[in-house]
Symmetry: C2
Subunit: 1001 residues, 2 copies
């Protein structure tokens, strides 16, 4: 008590010489604590906190919204003006700009924190005050303070009950109104500066307008849009700081109300106030008061301190809270940082729970040591997240055990799979994927038609895609997967057709039997839970596969584009001036016979017509007709087609680059977030529309999308049903088991790798997956398609990834400055079903679709390939080759694995890919799926080249090892588990961040 | 002393319960200080610092390079491993990654700072030790410490003299060597862990290898490339921390050597060591020791503390230094920031001088209050930098006073104007500007030729550009300005030619007289220092003018591009299949006469030839010939030119976007900085080469640059000299005074505004400018050009800005993490002279230049326009319209001026520009320069709409006001001046940053 008085006495000194007073305050604090230390051995602050925080952990404390108002003189009138607010981060009112600053991390000075500590030690602390209105609360404080002078009491009340002016969203409207108001009321209230001189006037006016604050929230408050940024259960803490001329020592009060109460216009938003911090001090130190106010406000939004504030039993608990805060504080050296820089909120902060857990775990000493963070030594010991595939791939050992579990798992989600699909985002997803699907259907349809002599053409491709896709989306385990024709299947069909043609075997029947066998083999795989071997597929294999598919997309798109330059050759020798020398004439096959007659007709009007059949008007024939009737084309312009190649290139490249730019637009500063998101979501659609429009505007005959308009098989001599018997010898039915095995492996690998990629942990899927169920349906569809003579379908990696990307959800960021979190994917069946329904209906959409030029679709293809590539870590690592190490991004694996090992790992991947690429380009493409198995073998061998530590960072550990590792961990005890979890969180967070920033899709 | 012992006794406790000990230490500190306070009233820390820092301010202290090594066990061997280093920012060794982290701000914990403080209070402090080798220094420390046990002494020496292993740049090479070494030497040194068990072995080995550290720097040290990042005068401070098993209390020593000494392999680089901090402690708290090490290392590179460390007289000075550091420290709340995040070095930090000045100015109390920064109230009162144009524009009042001063100012720089031009950057600048100049010369030459019936054509344009440009660059006051034909002059010439043609006045003679008059008028303006009125031109006017010019560039480029679609019409109805129907035939003028004969010939081989002159082979005629001989073109393909329009578009857009991308490449992560800078500098050249290459590859007849190859006037009936008399009546000679006046205003405005823009403060020009001298030479060239019948030349804003931008210098960043500073512009005459010499020589370069397609040059034009626009604040403000306020960048004016006022200001600017644009497009273009004067009037009127405060932030204040303001300031006293200076620095820094980031040029 003696010390208390001592400090109070020194307060005047402090207000002039703060350096001195900091010492004093610290002295005071230390003395008190040392006194206590003689009784207890543990640090008293932590001991206190542990006690109060563990008291009742079940009731979570509400979020606090903190508003700081400073006392200001507006004209002759005093008023409280909002100067900053905190939900989680600080937003300051830019005085000049009359606007809110961007949310930023509150940078405090150590000084202001120490001053605040003194304030709480010396000022009035009222906990659980039964307050219902501000005047009453002010009264209570003054009683507690023991303020005797009625004059002073009145003055303080007058100041504290001044009107509060908030920084609302509509400055023009409000400020105009204010101008009117303040000019009319200038003379109404006296200036506080002249209080001393005119004592009588003071009393008169003060009695008239003792309370400027309304009891009920104003309309401005209720209308404030900021409300939606504040959690529903939030309570407010109000910080009021100001300098007045009638005090000679600071008046400090910290009030916690028993019940959160709406104190009229005190707070910007209609949130009930729980805490009140008042600091009124003598004049001349406004800046210092302001800093103290910022300090308490920052403390109030600190997760740990707000807990303490809610549960504090007395003043000392609060002080202990500050001490704890100080202990965890991060310090920036003054020479390396300019305090004026506003620090943007970080992507992620240490969670409050982790900080609180310190107190329950009794690991005070250890945790304190780590506060410095960046320099820790043990962080290198941490291993990254384990490769977890969940129980979906567990080997049950029972017949159809996996399938049963899959169905059991997916069944409860069926209703939500439908109603969750109704969202604006679905529209863009459907459009995007639909375009991808029909492009794919047309491309593969065309290629299949070529390969199988039109036994399977574009029509079959459309029908098959629609049928297989919609059935799969309706019944599969993972409806986000999109089925499509894939390259390996195409190659298989091609080889099969050639084989059957050369050996006079009926292709369709042979194909049917292969389909049946393959279907049965799939069923065997499903029944035996064979999909569990997918567990041995690590990031290495996945990345190899999906990069390969991406490269195929990219190279196909570019090949198609280059092809159009061959298809529409440009006459590079064209001289505009010699336009007269360019022509192309159709000459009849035997000129000697027709020449005299030709001479006759040529001079005549071309519209003469009605010649006899043998004597054609050759000059009137089109190129095709001319060649058809055996004529020859003569002339400089015959081989050339003007403009189309270049126009195609413009359309192709334009679509691609516009899509990329629009995707990036999400991260620009222009337009509100929602509009930007919309533009980004619909970027592909918008690009397509733009370039279709441009194409229509130009009116050039660029190659257009051709959709079959009639519902009939492409080849007239086949029906919609293939008969299983009759055309081939009986042994073929059995022998087709062998090629079917190849198809089964192909389908199995293709399907399951795509499924693993879709089900990746980073996608945060909640409804689980169904590898066995998926494979079951792929098998069923295989047989069905074989019977109907339709192509076979399997999961398409790139389109499926695009599907997922277009359905990604992000949280609406709650507190200003907090990063929106990636929440997961809109898992539902609606988009898929719609896509395939549309594909089926496309036959009737031909009049609209025919306006889409093919180069635009190639552009979309290119984009899909590039976008799916950019989400892959492998691709990031390739880029590292070109970066000097000091410019490399701070990937977590770079912190832990030497660069040369990273490069070596990448190089091995590149080589594997190159080998796969070469194989794919030869006839060996048919054993392509086996090659993927080869990748897994290579990965296994990598265990010999790389340490487990390196592989854990660059890839994932293989399951056996994982098991061993787990055993090791168990031996080491549970202490590390927590750390691991944290690092996992770090890692996945980084993944998400990368995927947000790098992947433009 | 009692307390000292007390703390020492508690040290054991502290090593387990740090929280407790922090309190203790603080207690200790406070008690000491309070004891002192009874003697002096000022804070003792600050008092001490003020004393020692003011001691001898003349000798600057060297920069400190700090290296922290931690004791580590490599196999069985102990060694010191470099774990972090500081030049200004921290670079950490990534243990796993075996690499340096990116430089980052050291984030410390308050804890470690307090612990460090205790360490310095309790440990050995040896100042000005005469040390020559590490063993001797260690010995001295032990003597000072009063260490008696020889066993302990030996052990400590052994540990401290272990080999130091540094993180060098070549990890693979080194680590391989190390593996060999360590495996061979594994058994050589014993493990320290087993010291206790085998005492005898210890003594044996320790005597053998007591000192692992060589006396001379190793080759690794000398070869270290990092040396170039360290200032030449730097000294090292070495921090050694580690845990050992033989100590039961920490062994702490802080040593300052009397002379900086190279202590062998102690430091990574061969920099002599001045400071040594050693912390050896009992086992189990390595992390804590590490943090203490980081804390002292961070302190050592702090500008203020390193000064203190150099000048400290005793232990207390060091403690005072820490206290001062603590007082200035910036605190981040733990809940809002994750200590794991490495903070990137800021663009700018508070300068050390400012921090030091605190001590000399005796403003301790005040400055402390501002440490919190972001929340200050007074910052809004600050006004931005004043509009300063320097003494160059002062009104001397003497005849030719300004001109005399200009010459006097520029004369000493003449030699450096030449030798400073020889730099690699100049080559890219010359290429870039040369291409801009010839494009301009050709464009304007062509337009002038059209306008004046070839009295002035491309030839004259080339010659004039070369002549005027090189003369100006040789003799002018500001050789960075590039002269060129400009739009207003073109319009004037056009109107003048029409006038003289209609009134039968000789155009060339009239023009000569106008030139002479205008030249004389310029001389009058020079003699009377009239250029001083430029002072009234603020940012508003400058921006209006330069945006207008940029828009003209952009719109011209686009117009030209669109023009090529008209010039090469595309046949949009072309159907590839009907290629046979497209032809274009030349028909003779009177078909009826020739028809029978035509029929005859048409059937024959076209190569028949040798017809008589009257009977032309019409079908063999080219388009031009056909029309020339009166034939008519008939056919579907006559009006169309295939491919060229689209190819032109691809070239145009490709050049533009490739240049933009390459410019941005500077900020990418790929390739070393130097290569990136090279790519960025040569981006225009590379884009041009690429698209010229593409054009050659395609071989299409795109329009190419046509350079005159013969040195003769474009119009054969004029010579190279215009005679002043003889062709026009005498009164014309006098009357031409009136149009000359218009030309003079035009030239004056155009020239001087460009000069103001070039001489902007942001460009940090050092050699001064010469407005009067420039105008003088423009006048002289005016007359000269008139005599030779060449176009008139005046400063071209866009090309001049491009010239400056291509010559910008940036500092080679010294400390890792420090931003390269914009140093200024390579001010010299060489690039300009070369550009114009090349322009002159271009006539002979025709064989090379003829490969450049015009669309490529239009792309360059577009780029120039866009690039010069992007450096303008006005443009930034236009962009603000499209940004929701929360996404707007943190421009300083937005912090101080309400957004609606900013928008209003921008809107007024837009409207002014629109009016100017409309005027420019009509015949009123001739009074265009007067319109610029109009802008100044509008600006004057803005004083009535906007407050001075707002205008100071958005624009500059007009001189009269400025004067008044200065008077006001004087009254307010000098206190604010310092603040203003600081804010000015802020502002210009921001400008520079903006210009670096926004302006891709």
């Amino acid at each position: 008590m003696l010390l208390y008085v001592c400090v109070k006495g020194h307060f005047m000194v402090y207000s002039k010489r703060d350096k001195l007073t900091v010492m004093l305050k610290q002295y005071f604090k230390m003395v008190l604590q040392i006194l206590k230390m003689s009784f207890c051995q543990v640090s008293p602050a932590a001991e206190r906190l542990r006690y109060i925080l563990s008291e009742d952990d079940d009731m979570p404390t509400p979020t606090l919204f903190t508003e700081m108002d400073t006392l200001q003189r507006e004209g002759d009138e005093l008023e409280w003006k909002e100067s900053a607010r905190w939900v989680k981060f600080e937003e300051k009112v830019e005085e000049g700009g009359e606007r809110w600053s961007k949310p930023h991390v509150s940078t405090l000075s150590l000084h202001s924190l120490f001053e605040l500590r003194t304030c709480l030690q010396t000022g009035t602390v009222l906990l659980d005050l039964e307050g219902y209105s501000l005047p009453q609360i002010v009264g209570e404080i003054q009683i507690e303070e023991g303020m005797t002078s009625p004059d002073l009491r009145e003055k303080i009340s007058f100041v504290l009950l001044r009107r509060h002016r908030h920084q609302t969203k509509k400055p023009i409207h409000r400020s105009l109104a204010d101008i009117g108001k303040s000019s009319s009321s200038t003379s109404e209230y006296p200036c506080l500066c002249c209080v001393r001189s005119s004592r009588s006037r003071w009393t008169r006016t003060s009695s008239r307008s003792m309370n400027d604050i309304a009891d009920t929230p104003s309309t401005d408050q209720l209308k404030n849009k900021f409300m939606k940024k504040i959690p529903r259960d939030a309570e407010a803490s109000n910080v009021l700081v100001g300098e007045v001329d009638f005090l000679n020592k600071p008046f400090v009060a910290f009030v916690r109300l028993a019940q959160a109460t709406t104190l009229g216009g005190l707070t910007e938003v209609p949130v009930p106030t729980r805490f009140l911090f008042i600091l009124l001090g003598p004049q001349g130190r406004a800046k210092s008061y302001n800093e103290i106010g910022r300090a308490i406000a920052t403390l109030m939004v600190d997760d740990l301190f707000s807990d303490v504030a809610y549960k504090a039993r007395d003043r000392e608990d609060l002080i202990a809270g500050i001490d704890e805060f100080l202990d965890e504080v991060i310090v920036l050296p003054p020479g390396e940082w300019d305090p004026k820089i506003r620090i943007e909120p970080p992507k992620k902060v240490t969670s409050a729970d982790k900080r609180k857990s310190v107190f329950s775990l009794n690991e005070l000493g250890q945790m304190n040591g780590t506060a410095g963070g960046a320099g820790g030594l043990t962080e290198d010991e941490e291993m990254p997240a384990q490769h977890e595939l969940g129980e979906e791939l567990a080997f049950t050992g029972r017949f159809c055990g996996g399938l049963y579990l899959d169905i059991k798992r997916k069944l409860p989600w069926i209703p939500s799979d439908f109603y969750e699909g109704f969202h604006i985002q679905s529209i863009s997803a459907v459009l995007f994927i639909y375009l991808g699907c029909i492009t794919n259907a047309i491309t593969f349809g065309g290629l299949l038609g070529d390969a199988t002599d039109n036994y399977q053409g574009v029509m079959e491709s459309f029908l098959g895609t629609a049928l297989a896709g919609s059935v799969f989306c309706l019944f599969s385990g993972q409806p986000l997967i999109i089925l499509s024709s894939t390259g390996p299947i195409l190659i298989f069909e091609k080889l099969l057709f050639e084989f059957s043609k050369n050996n006079s075997i009926d292709y369709m029947e042979l194909r049917l039997w292969i389909g049946i066998h393959s279907c049965l083999q799939c069923f065997v795989l499903v029944a035996t839970d064979a999909s569990y071997i997918i567990k041995y597929m690590t990031r290495f294999t996945e990345e190899g596969f999906s990069s390969l598919i991406s490269f195929i997309f990219i190279s196909d798109a570019i090949k198609k584009m280059v092809g159009s330059f061959k298809y529409y050759p440009i006459n590079t020798d064209f001289k505009p001036d010699y336009v007269t020398t360019y022509k192309c004439e159709c000459l009849a096959p035997d000129p000697s016979e027709f020449t005299p007659w030709l001479r006759e007709t040529e001079g005549n009007c071309p519209a003469e017509g009605s010649l006899n059949v043998t004597a054609l008007d050759w000059s009137q024939l089109s190129k095709k007709e001319c060649l058809k009737y055996g004529g020859s084309l003569v002339g400089k312009s015959c081989k050339f087609v003007p403009d189309l190649a270049l126009m195609s290139f413009i359309l192709f490249f334009g679509t691609y680059s516009m899509t990329v730019s629009l995707k990036k637009f999400k991260f620009s500063r222009y337009f509100p977030t929602k509009l930007r998101k919309l533009i980004s979501d619909f970027s592909i659609f918008m690009s397509i529309m733009t370039f279709v429009g441009l194409d229509m505007l130009m009116g050039l005959k660029t190659p257009k999308l051709i959709v079959p308009t009639e519902f009939k098989p492409t080849r007239p001599d086949r029906g919609w049903l293939v008969m299983p018997f009759g055309k081939n010898p009986w042994w073929i039915y059995l022998a087709s088991f062998v090629p079917a095995l190849l198809v089964t492996i192909l389908i199995f690998m293709d399907q399951q790798i795509s499924a693993v990629i879709v089900n990746r942990k980073e996608n945060k899927l909640k409804k689980g997956c169904g590898y066995h169920l998926d494979l079951f349906w792929v098998g069923v569809l295989m047989a069905a398609c074989s019977f109907m003579g339709l192509p076979w379908y399997v999961a398409a990696t790139v389109i499926s990834i695009a599907h997922i990307d277009s359905l990604k959800m992000e949280s609406e960021s709650s507190a200003p400055g907090e990063q929106p979190q990636f929440l997961g994917v809109r898992e539902q069946r609606v988009t898929g079903i719609l896509v395939f329904a549309l594909t089926g209906v496309s036959i009737f959409l031909a009049p609209v679709l025919k306006f889409i030029p093919m180069p635009v679709l190639y552009g979309v293809f290119l984009y899909m390939g590039v976008a799916s590539l950019s989400g892959i870590q492998f691709w990031d690592r390739i880029k590292l080759y070109m970066m000097p190490s000091k410019h490399q991004p701070d990937y977590s694996y770079l912190r832990h694995v030497p660069l040369r090992r990273v490069h070596l790992f990448t190089l091995i991947q590149i080589m594997c890919l190159a080998v796969l690429w070469i194989l794919k380009s030869t006839f060996l493409a048919i054993i392509f799926p086996v090659m993927i198995l080869g990748l897994m073998v290579v990965r296994k061998m990598l265990d010999m080249v790389f340490s487990r530590h390196d592989l854990a960072w660059l890839d994932d550990l293989l399951p056996e090892k994982e098991k061993k590792k787990k055993d090791d961990d168990k031996k080491k005890g549970k202490g590390k588990e927590k750390e691991k979890k944290k690092s996992k969180a770090d890692d996945s967070e980084e993944e998400v961040r990368n995927s947000i920033f790098c992947c433009p899709l």
